[in-house]
């Protein structure tokens, strides 16, 4: 299956698409060689060749595709594969590095902070939002199986909610948790999580590109 050439439009379309993460990852990884060629075409590999904006968008998207498929060590490898100059100069890639550090060290507050408050380029927004909710969901599941009782402030901090409000017993926040089936005991001021189970997903084989492209095509048209 031929992919359309690597372009900003194509990337924007991918970012906005609702492709399953594994397919998104697969497509983007096929573009990596093209991106490399662009860099190389500029002559010497250190100077950022090609279109820095396009490359930045590509690498940022690809980075998020790693995170969405839970490949944190490989995401780190990616940051080392990208052209040095670009990595040092491009604000979006710098943000990626900050995010990577927070994810790596499981600093939940830091992750939300980075995702929400750093200036991400417009076309990347869908992926940033997508990762935020991905991260939130994963954390919610993890907290639900790791805690039998938890103070609302701590739970809120894990999910990037306002933990000060939660500490004061903010009903809307408590509500969010009780919506997941957790119970709230007002006398002890504790939330009692109910473990959330997800069927474990088998690793998707890297097929399905055809479907993905078809889906993209239908969206584009």
């Amino acid at each position: 299956m031929e992919l359309p050439p690597l372009s900003t439009a194509q990337l924007e379309q991918l970012a906005a698409s609702n492709l399953p993460p594994s397919q998104l990852f697969e497509i983007l990884s096929r573009y990596e060689s093209d991106a490399c060629l662009m860099v190389a075409d500029s002559g010497h590999p250190d100077a950022s060749g090609g279109d820095p904006q396009l490359l930045s968008l590509f690498y940022s998207s690809f980075f998020f595709a790693h995170l969405l498929t839970n490949q944190v060590p490989e995401a780190r490898a990616l940051t080392q594969r990208m052209p040095e100059t670009l990595r040092h100069q491009d604000p979006s890639l710098q943000n990626c590095l900050t995010l990577l550090r927070a994810v790596w060290q499981t600093q939940h507050a830091q992750v939300y902070e980075t995702l929400r408050n750093l200036p991400w380029p417009e076309p990347l927004y869908p992926l940033v939002r997508r990762y935020e909710s991905f991260f939130q969901d994963r954390t919610l599941i993890a907290v639900s199986t790791s805690y039998e009782a938890i103070r609302p402030a701590v739970a809120a901090a894990y999910l990037g909610l306002d933990s000060q409000a939660a500490e004061k017993g903010d009903q809307s926040i408590i509500q969010k948790f009780t919506d997941c089936g957790w119970t709230w005991s007002p006398e002890s001021q504790l939330l009692h999580p109910v473990p959330i189970t997800v069927p474990s997903t088998e690793e998707q084989p890297s097929t399905g590109i055809r479907d993905a492209m078809a889906m993209l095509g239908s969206r584009a048209s």
């Binding site: 060629l37 075409d41 590999p45 490898a77 189970t197």
Partner: protein, 491 residues
Amino acid sequence: MAAIPALVTASTKLHNTTGLTDESHDCQIRDHVAYCRNLLSTKALSSISRDESVLDPHDRTLIQDGILSSISFFSVCKSKPSRKRPMEHCLGIYYPRGRLWSKAVRYLETFNPVQIRYAGQEFRQLIEYPLLATRPIREAILRLDPSCAVFTSTHLLFVQLCLRAKAYACALPVLDKHVCHFPAPSSRASSKSSLALCAKHESGLSFITDSSALSATLTYKDYLLYFLYGGMIYMALKEWRKAFHFLGVVISMPTVGSISMVMVEAYKKWVLVGLLANGKLSSPPNNTPSHLVKLYQSIAKPYVSLAQAFERGEMQTLVAEVDAARDIWIMDRNMGLVSQVVNTFSAHALVRLRKTFAALTVAEVLEQVPHLPADPIATESVIAPLIMSGAMNATLVHSPSHTSDTMLRLSGKPFFSQVSHESHMQVRFRKEGQLMTALMGSLEETNRAMALSDEFVDASSKGQAWTTASEVNQGVGDDFGLDMDEDIMGG
């Protein structure tokens, strides 16, 4: 200029294979290979390669038509890139810019895996040309032999490239399949089975042979390095168990007397990875001769004493060992691993708590596991990620009042999460089961090869000649300085 149309004509002849027996197809392909080789070795080739444009109108025929004439394609492009590109530019991620690049890539993703069996030499020249990047080579390896059970020089090249390009995950589809064989001396393959090369083969072993030239001549260093590099790739991805296995392969391989430096390097990493994977100094694979174990231990003494300090559970001794041999870790390029070992020390102590306690407060955890942050809240933030990542089977229970302590219950997960645990287990079972089936297949192959004892002896004496011939192949050693990226982000 006449060469191109001639090639096209020749290749179209091959398109129509339906109704042919394997034998006649076999002959046809062999003729074609001979024809192409002959054609292209003459001056025709030089005229082609000088004129790049010539290829463009024709490569559609050559490449995109349903059935491909592999040899033709390889023959055409094999001489192309060498003049243009120095090696280091082409390696790894520095993809070539030549126009043939994308065609070669497409080709590798689509070539006819049957016909390629006849053109091993050209095939290998193409993919082992450093111009190609990791991913296409991977596709090529898997296309050639989906079981991936026969080791070829391409395997080594591939992991080397992945390591150098820091494209670790890319190597997994190949690494995760277990290499179990080496290309057989061709005489045995042909005497054993009368199957034509293009027939349906059960295993790659019967067509990837010595004479197929699908692999360069191999030496012991090739497979040792393959498993060492593979282990390093797993290490970079923090797949400690698999890394441990790969390094275990290296240190347990049969030797005649002495050991290779590759094995010593692997042993050092094996000790450290063993600590990360199992939290203890493990015993080497069963069939490692005990004198080798002693030899390793004496050569890699600092590593062994580091592991012993880790096992004894004394942080001070551990830190002292790390400081004492700092130069050695740096020289061996294992500093990153060593610092990860130090970092997991507390985690292992925490996981071990389960053996003694069913429940205790975080403050009591502090008493049992020294070297945690002194205040219980900070300690909780060390414990929570361990639980959430699944490394520790436990739950935390906050207490109503803020002042009193959080309880750590180690009595297993509540019932609800069992369901996801079950399905998770099922996936892992299935995976191991598949692996086992693959291994059983390989075992059958090995049995078949060994069963005919005369031939085994025959093959073994062939093997001698083979290794003696391999003296030349020393080049691999130059790459030994390869290093996975191992400095870590702290945490």
